[in-house]
Amino acid sequence: MADAELLPGTLDLLILKALSLGAQHGYGVLLRIEQITAGALAVEQGALYPALYRLVHQGLLDTEWGTSDNNRKAKFYSLTAAGRKRLKSETDRWNRNTLAINTALRAQEA
């Protein structure tokens, strides 16, 4: 794993993104983030859960106990309507910010 530090606030966004592809349990979320970032961003395993609970608490995620692929009881997370909306607004904001910062950084280089 190429370890890049997570920027503050990015974990929430990554979780929302990972879950936008379908309901998943905690470990599944971790694997999916690894997968979609191509292993470029390391998520501390334990840190995932406080973030998940926080998002549930904010009403962005829903939870349901179900059965995992190899028949174990697991807790599945899915996006709520509010979560979907937040993902969209956060993505927009992120893009705007990155654009602005990229512009700024390029200006400095010039």
Partner: protein
């Protein structure tokens, strides 16, 4: 019902919390299992190894759980936060809460008694202006002030003028008949101005008027009216029979009124001086209401010359009513409060120590949290919250315990302090308020000390030093342990001194053999037994009948038992109307000294021939013989008894007995023959080999055969009389209280020393290992650890020794201290604490000595 809603929401949170905890555990477990499976697949390692690796990767599960809880914002004011606190170190938290509950409970119960005895004013109008007046002989300034003759009262009243108004009362017991079974009731004969002086008006009927003096009228207490007359609204004008005489009820006193100096149910007008003049030796007690700006001392000084010319010459003693009511109870209660306060202090010290250790253990979490933006105030608040929760639980438990203990304490207080109770002994809001205030203040201190420490941490320090606590924290922790040891020392010394004194007092010979004696009180009403002949004939017949049933040398009769009262005194001299030593007067029937096993020193004891046909005869005690006759032979000499206004022949000399308390000086005694000077109220004493039940049945049966209306009451073994006598019972109580506190203190200080030693060794493992590796032997490490424990205990002993000086001063009224007993007490306490300290350090020391350098250094 806002509180109901709040309670429901609290309950919901509580249930949600436990569900949440379960959910978190399940979820994290699932995560670890899946991770382990993946690792096993990817790296081809064994499942066990994979699981270990998964755990290692994950890091501290507890820490993340903690962050989840934080994320949900449930830590802050959630009372269940405490469940974590407890789960982390359940034993020490439980011990802290338990000791707190115990000490708070006992403290609150004692305070409830203090409240009823010392802090509640007597139920009279403006009680601070009321004083009791009494006399003490000039040569015995420390004696208990006593009642005065009617003539003195009259002279005082005249002398007082506008300084104060004076009233008199005289307590007695009367037999109540024809209102259920015959029964003895407490009665007070009072001057007509007595109730108005206290500011009491009857709730029903009227008070006494001047015309009532000498007439058979009575005012009854509210309790008597409700219990004995079913609260009859038409009670005024009803008649009751007291002492064989019909009395008309003219009033009922208000419910809240009680005269604690002499509890009674019946109040009658006191006959004025001329009516009582015939009965020599009668005395009254005097109460006065001071005029404005008059102090008790001014009044006493104004009345003094009346008493100085009395026989024996006396001084006037004016005591505020509140003080008079509290009496001996004040000292005992203050000491009890002291023991309770020390125990409470130890419980809080223990808690503070615990919280410090816990804040040290949690420093990483707290430091990270404050680095992540939590302000110091939040961290402090969390530590404080923890203290408040622990203290809250302890206090709640304590109050519950107090609710359970207080009725017992009240019963004990009633037995111990009798009249001194001005109010109910109950867990009142006042008691709860005080307990809550003290507990909250202590919680703040206990919580803020570690919080203040936490405020100084910086993340850098914490991360650099890891779990090693700062020197400041270590010192603070040590200070608390030293405090515990010091308090334990003070309590142990106090316990030793008290216990020693109790044993000393119990070892004092009362002058008779209490074991195996049974006593029975009887009282003959004047109406049925008008003259001395009738009284003599009743008691002689009773004694003869009982001797026939129980054995000829096993029964006797006396007017008052030793170790109960020292009333009834006379001045004794060799010539008529001279002054001389004062002696307690007792009236004894034939066989008394034999049954009591009071040694006969010379002459003979009373026999049937010492009756009304003979000249007055007395038996005197050894100390009186010494005072009167020095080395001359007293037998056959004549002495003058001032109170009886007669000369009497000395026929015998007996050993002295203790009249009021075992720890008081011997009082000279003169015994009159019961056949010559009978007392209507007397006590039958029986020493028999038969079972108590048989003896009691026999006495009741014989008394009933002679007079069916006569109650036999206050049936008790003489041993009980000794046990409840003033010098013994309060010391027994105090010894018990200090022993209990000392044991709690000892256990807690042992836990404290153990904790510090164990923590030290754990923190210094690397250092110890290094030393071992460099060649230090285990004995040396053992000694070093012991040395540290000894330093802690040593400081505790030093501080404790200083505090003990103060404690010994506080106890000086109760304990007999000699240099020897002091040294013994201090030595004993020090030895016990050193042994306990050594025991507490031992496990840690052994661990230090067994340090395996290889294992430790590999782990570090």
């Amino acid at each position: 019902m806002a509180w109901l809603a709040r309670l429901r929401s609290f309950w919901r949170t509580a249930r949600r919390r436990s569900a949440l905890e379960q959910e978190m555990s399940d979820e994290l477990q699932f995560h670890l299992v899946r991770r382990a499976e993946d690792l096993a697949d990817r790296r081809g390692i064994s499942p066990g190894k994979a699981m270990r690796l998964a755990r290692l990767e994950f890091g501290s599960i507890e820490r993340y759980k903690e962050e989840v809880r934080d994320a949900l914002g449930i830590t802050r004011l959630d009372l269940l936060h405490l469940s974590r606190t407890i789960r982390r170190s359940p034993a020490s938290a439980a011990a802290a809460v338990l000791t707190l509950a115990l000490t708070v409970g006992v403290g609150a119960s004692i305070f409830a008694v203090v409240d009823a005895v010392l802090l509640t004013p007597p139920p009279f109008a403006n009680p601070s202006a009321l004083v009791t007046l009494g006399e003490t002989p000039v040569d015995q300034p420390a004696a208990v002030p006593r009642a005065v003759p009617d003539t003195t009262f009259a002279a005082w009243r005249e002398r007082a003028g506008s300084l104060a108004s004076l009233e008199a009362y005289d307590g007695t017991n009367l037999t109540l008949t024809r209102l259920g079974p015959a029964e003895r009731v407490g009665a007070m004969d009072v001057t007509t101005g007595f109730l108005p002086l206290l500011g009491v008006t009857p709730a029903l009927g009227r008070g006494f008027g001047v015309d009532d003096v000498g007439r058979p009228v009575a005012i009854v207490s509210d309790g008597f009216w409700r219990a004995r007359m079913a609260g009859d609204p038409a009670v005024i004008g009803r008649e009751i029979v007291l002492g064989g005489r019909v009395h008309t009820i003219v009033g009922v006193l208000p419910k809240q009124f009680s005269f604690s100096l002499n509890r009674s149910d019946i109040w009658r007008p006191l006959p004025t001086t001329p009516l009582r003049a015939a009965r020599t030796g009668d005395r009254v007690r005097v109460i006065a209401r001071l005029g404005g700006n008059v102090s008790p001392a001014i009044l006493a000084a104004a009345l003094d010359d009346v008493s100085r010319t009395a026989s024996p010459p006396s001084r006037v003693v004016a005591t505020s009513v509140a003080t008079a009511i509290a009496g001996d109870a004040t000292r005992t209660l203050e000491l009890l409060m002291g023991a309770a306060a020390l125990a409470l202090l130890i419980a809080f010290t223990n808690l503070a120590g615990l919280l410090i250790v816990r804040s040290i253990d949690r420093r990483r979490e707290l430091a990270v949290r404050s680095a992540l933006g939590a302000r110091h105030s939040e961290v402090a608040r969390q530590l404080l919250m923890e203290a408040v929760v622990l203290v809250g639980m302890g206090t709640l438990g304590g109050v519950l315990l107090a609710l359970w203990l207080t009725p017992m304490a009240g019963q004990l207080a009633l037995e111990q302090f009798g009249g001194a109770l001005n109010g109910q002994v109950a867990v009142s809001w006042r008691v709860i308020g005080l307990v809550a205030a003290v507990a909250f203040a202590c919680a703040c201190i206990c919580g803020l000390l570690p919080a203040a420490g936490a405020a100084r941490w910086s993340v850098v320090d914490v991360l650099r030093r890891g779990a090693t606590p700062s020197a400041r924290e270590l010192i603070l922790r040590r200070v608390f342990v030293v405090g515990e040891v010091a308090l334990a020392f003070v309590l142990l010394v106090s316990m030793a001194l008290l216990g020693r004194t109790l044993l000393d007092v119990l070892a004092v010979s009362p002058g008779f053999e209490a074991h195996g004696l049974l006593t029975f009180q009887l009282s003959l009403p004047v109406a049925t037994y008008p003259g001395p002949e009738r009284v003599v004939s009743f008691y002689s017949t009773l004694q003869n009948a009982l001797q026939e049933r129980l054995g000829s040398r096993s029964v006797s009769i006396v007017d008052e038992l030793p170790l109960t009262v020292d009333r009834g005194r006379t001045v004794v001299s060799l010539r008529r109307l001279e002054t001389g030593p004062e002696a307690v007067v007792r009236t004894a029937s034939p066989g008394y000294f034999d049954v009591m096993r009071i040694p006969l020193v010379g002459g003979r004891s009373f026999g049937p021939e010492d009756n009304s046909a003979a000249t007055p005869r007395v038996v005197i005690s050894e100390s009186l013989a010494g005072r009167l006759f020095a080395s001359e032979q007293p037998i056959g000499r004549r002495i003058w008894l001032a109170a009886q206004a007669q000369m009497a022949d000395v026929v015998g000399v007996v050993g002295d007995v203790k009249h009021r308390a075992l720890d008081e000086a011997l009082l000279p005694t003169v015994y009159l023959s019961a056949l010559q000077a009978p007392s209507p109220s007397s006590i039958v004493i029986v020493r028999s080999a038969r079972p108590d039940a048989d003896v009691i049945a026999a006495v009741r049966a014989e008394a009933a055969r002679l007079d069916g209306n006569l109650p036999v009451y206050r049936v008790r073994p003489m041993q009980d009389v000794v046990t409840v006598s003033p010098g013994v019972s309060s010391r027994r109580l105090l010894t018990a209280a200090f022993t209990a506190s000392a044991l709690v203190a000892l256990v807690l200080s042992a836990i404290g020393v153990f904790g510090v030693a164990a923590h030290d060794v754990a923190c210094r493992r690397a250092e110890l290992a290094l030393r071992m590796a460099l060649g230090a032997d285990s004995m040396r490490l053992l000694r070093a650890t012991f040395g540290q424990g000894a330093t802690l205990v040593g400081w505790g002993l030093a501080v404790g020794a200083l505090l003990s000086i103060w404690a010994a001063r506080a106890l000086s009224g109760v304990v007999f201290t000699t240099a020897a007993s002091d040294v013994l007490g201090v030595g004993l306490a020090a030895a016990v604490l050193m042994a306990t300290g050594a025991g507490a350090v031992l496990p840690a020391a052994l661990r230090a000595a067994r340090t395996d350098p290889l294992v430790v250094l590999r782990n570090e």
